[in-house]
Structure formats: C-alpha cells, structure tokens
C-alpha cells in the first residue's frame, strides 16, 4: 500500500516532534503532518537556540570571539575554533609555527573521534539500544581526559589562539594519545560485532532514510551525509588546509545513501582520524607553539576572507569581512548542520515515523549549531 493512492483525500493530523523531545537532541521542533503512521510533510521549526553568535562577533574584538566559536557546535568545539582562528590568521596574515599546526591537527582529530563516538551512542539510543552508549562514552571519556590535560576544559575548549595554541603538549599527552589509539583500535571489532552486525540495527538502518547524491548537492549537504551518498568530498582533501596534506589518509565513501552508509562513513572516519593522529605524533617537529609578534589588539587590514574546515558534521566555514577596525565588519558562519538538516523535509516524505527518527539521528544534528 503506497500512501500516494489514498493520501490526497485522507484525513491527516499534525504531530509535534519537539521542541522538547529526546530524539531531537536539543530544542528543535518538527511539525509532522501525518497520515496514520506515514509522514506526509515535515516542517522544521528552528531558531529556539538562537544566540546571535554572528552579531556578537561583529561587536567585539577578534580575540573576544574565541570562546563563542566553541559554543556553536559544542560536540566538536576544537574544529570550529580551528576555523575561526585560521580565518582570522589568513585575514591578518599571521604565520603559524609548524608545531602549533601539528598540535591543532592532533587535538582536532581527537575531537572528531569523540564527536563521532558521542553521535554513535546517541544515535543508537534513538534506535532503542541503550548499551552501546555506555561503551562509546567509556572511550570518549579517555579523549576528554586527554584533551582536558592540555586544554583545561572538557567540552567547550578555548585552546587555539591567533598564531598558535596557548599551551604546548607534553610527553604524558603524547604517551596517553598513543595508548588511546591502541585501545580504540582494539575496540573497533567489538563495536562492529556489537552494533554493525546486529540484526535489529541493520533492519532499522539499511535502506532507511535514503538521500540521493543529487539532493545532497542541491541542499549543500556536506560531511558524512554527502560521503554516505557516494560523493567523495572532504575539505581536508579537496581544499587542504593546515598540515593535512602531509598525512596519508583515505576518505571513506559509501554509495548507498541510507542510514547505514552514514554510520559506516563515521565508523571509518574514526579509524582514519586515528591514523592521522598517529602520523602527526610521529612527525611533530620541535619549536615554538605561538607565533611571535602577534599584536595584542588585532586590526587586520581591509579585506575579506573565507575559510572552511572539515568539521565533524561537514564543511564548517566562516567569512570575515574587516574594515580595518578591531572588530570584524561582518562575520558569517556556514554551519554544516543547517544544510544537512534542510534536506530532511524532502527526503522524509512518505516514510514511517519510526524511520524518520532513525533518519534524523543519522544526520548527526547539533541544534545549537543550526540556530547559532
């Protein structure tokens, strides 16, 4: 029975998903027009978590925006701050010492792994499996401990500075990261037999939430959503930044476009990120971690620049326009979740409500990043 035959005249009803709902992971409201168990239309209502980060960036000095960047996507905070500092550095023409770039890559990739682990746990809770969350949080805890030992905070890091990073890494961190890589690698087969091969999980994911590559292109979806639809696009590879060109890593791509493909992309990305961290730890040069002569009050020359990084959820970009004063004239944030979520309405039509929740979970949304 397809819904197209009868839904035109059938009685529909509105179902509110959110603003407070455990499966939306934040204050997100989706107005679902339902025909029985099938979704006729899904209208996202966003903006509950709007904190005007862009406007805040425009009326404060460059350095004062540092803590803000990590509060947009708090699950992958270092990746966002990387984008911010790199954009300002490009604008102001600051050269970053190589050691600082290596530290940035190491910490950002660790943050990506922790973000994917958190996503995996939360996604499986959405699907009704509680146990894997405890395993992923156990592993994530190790990353948080490592990052806390050098950045001082556990979630909303404020670690990168214009021209480098504020603290150097020590031998304990390097040894701890090496042992974490070993541990995480030994845990991957466990995850695959616990989750990937689980029949209930596969039934809920395979062939569910299909997103064609063409739809991704139209909505500007990036990150694992795009790579799960068979398009090989990774900012680290296509528009290399920082010291990523020095490392050997592959970009996982799965052509199916369903929830399972997105899950597999993220699982493979964890392994690839560990590879990058391992290579970076081996090749990290000695030297300063902060550029010399970075002015206390930054006043970049007139001009504008756009910088994007591969955040855990896709291409995270910032456009900063400077008019020569100590605060940016315009600061625009391109957040990947907004684009990734935009395709939800089109792709979810005609599916079951339970499948829509699996689809929503597989998009890996961080609502404060959509609203910012």
């Amino acid at each position: 029975m397809s819904i197209d035959d009868q839904s035109i005249h059938a009685e529909t009803f509105i179902l509110n998903l959110g603003p407070q709902h455990p499966a939306t992971h934040g204050v997100l409201r989706i107005k679902l027009t339902m025909d029985g168990e099938y979704i006729v239309d899904a209208e996202p209502v966003i903006g509950y978590g709007h904190r005007m980060h862009e406007k805040m960036g425009e009326n404060r000095s460059y350095a004062k925006f540092l803590p803000n960047a990590s509060r947009m996507d708090y699950v992958g905070a270092l990746l966002n701050t990387h984008c911010h500092v790199a954009a300002v550095e490009r604008l102001a023409g600051i050269t970053v010492p190589e050691r600082a770039e290596f530290i940035r890559v190491i910490t950002a990739e660790l943050n990506r792994v922790s973000s994917h682990l958190l996503w995996m746990g939360a996604f499986l809770v959405d699907l009704g499996a509680f146990t894997p969350l405890l395993y992923t949080f156990d592993d994530r805890e190790d990353i948080l401990d490592l990052l806390e030992s050098i950045t001082g905070s556990r979630l909303t890091y404020c670690y990168y500075r214009f021209g480098g990073v504020c603290n150097d890494i020590d031998d304990d961190f390097i040894a701890g990261t090496r042992s974490f890589i070993e541990r995480m690698r030994s845990r991957m087969p466990m995850y695959h037999s616990l989750v990937t091969e689980n029949i209930i999980f596969r039934k809920r994911c395979e062939g569910i939430g299909g997103v064609p590559a063409e739809t991704c292109r139209r909505y500007g979806a990036t990150g694992p959503v795009l790579r799960g639809s068979g398009v090989c696009y990774d900012v680290r590879r296509n528009e290399p930044y920082s010291v990523y060109p020095l490392f050997d890593f592959s970009v996982p791509v799965y052509p199916e476009g369903d929830c399972m493909a997105r899950y597999r992309v993220r699982m493979d990305e964890i392994v690839e990120s560990l590879r990058i961290v391992e290579q970076a730890l081996e090749r990290i040069p000695a030297g300063p971690v902060m550029a010399e002569k970075v002015p206390l009050i930054l006043k970049p020359a007139r001009g504008e620049c756009y910088f994007n990084v591969e955040a855990a959820r896709g291409s995270f970009g910032m456009r900063i326009v400077s008019d020569g004063l100590d605060a940016p004239y315009r600061l625009k944030v391109r957040s990947p979740c907004f684009s990734n979520f935009s395709l939800f309405r089109e792709c979810v039509r005609g599916t079951l409500l339970a499948d829509a929740l699996a689809f929503l979970g597989s998009l890996d949304l961080v609502i404060p990043e959509i609203d910012r």
Partner: protein, 153 residues
C-alpha cells in the same frame, strides 16, 4: 521459492547469532572492573591545567599581586570582571581594593589569565560550585584570598 525460504532461514539464524554475540559482549563486560568512581566518596585527580574560575595570587607578604592594570577586565569577552584600586603612599604599585568576578557570565576561556603580565591570576581547582542562589556566583576575589590565607596551615 526455495531460495527465498533459504535466505529467510539464513537471516533468522544469522540474526539470532548476531544478537547472541551482542549479549555475550555485554555479559563479558559485567565481569570487568567498573570504569566509574562513586563520586562523592571518591574523586579523580584533576589535571595540572584544570581551568576553574579565576583566583588571585598572593605575594610573599600576603598581598594580592594584582596591580590594577585592568588588562583582565579589558580582555574578558563577557565583561564579568570588575577591578578597582588605588596607590597607597609608600607602595611601589597600585593595590586592588575591589576584585569581583561575576561567575554567572564567565565562559572559562582563560583569556584573563593569559592577559595578566604580572602573574597575579590563576585558575582555581574548585568544581563543586552548585548553589540555589545566583548571588553565590558573584565572587569577591579579595575576600576569597583573605580566607585562603587564614586557612593556610
């Protein structure tokens, strides 16, 4: 028809095995040492660089090292530091008379500690900061410093 049945049976058996594998993993885990600690009775060691709220440092005589240069107040993104002071006769530097941190708006970015060029600020190692009253988070740093000095063995 026959292959349909075969794949159906194969799925049932394979699926059951996958479920049993998952349960076996969970069962094995229950015999391992717990990774959690029972918090109020046992606490973990904080890392060296733990970033709590700020705290004033004292010099040898027990005065606050702060020279009221206002760098921290200017560096703070959320305007949560209020400093004021005067220059007493016979002192080579200014002395803080007011140092108030409004912790309700502090985002723990650490820019104030970095901006301090007189080594007068540090991060506290306190994290049990729950309270029912908003006023408890408007902290008088000089008062805290005084209390710390009295408590010192």
């Amino acid at each position: 028809m026959k292959s349909d049945l075969r794949s159906y049976l194969k799925e049932i058996i394979g699926g059951s095995i996958s479920l049993l594998t998952g349960m076996w993993i969970t069962l094995r885990q229950s015999f391992r040492k717990p990774v959690t600690v029972s918090y109020p009775y046992r606490t973990l060691k904080l890392p060296e660089r733990f970033r709590g709220h700020i705290e004033l440092k004292a010099d040898e005589q027990g005065w606050a090292k702060c020279v009221v240069c206002m760098a921290c107040q200017k560096a703070c993104p959320s305007f949560c530091i209020k400093v004021n002071g005067y220059k007493p006769a016979g002192m080579p530097r200014k002395v803080a008379t007011i140092y108030i941190l409004d912790f309700t708006t502090c985002s723990l970015c650490g820019l104030c500690v970095e901006s301090c060029r007189f080594d007068a600020l540090m991060f506290s190692r306190e994290y049990n900061l729950a309270s029912f009253r908003k006023e408890d988070y408007v902290m008088d740093m000089l008062e805290r410093l005084r209390r710390r000095r009295i408590c010192r063995p």
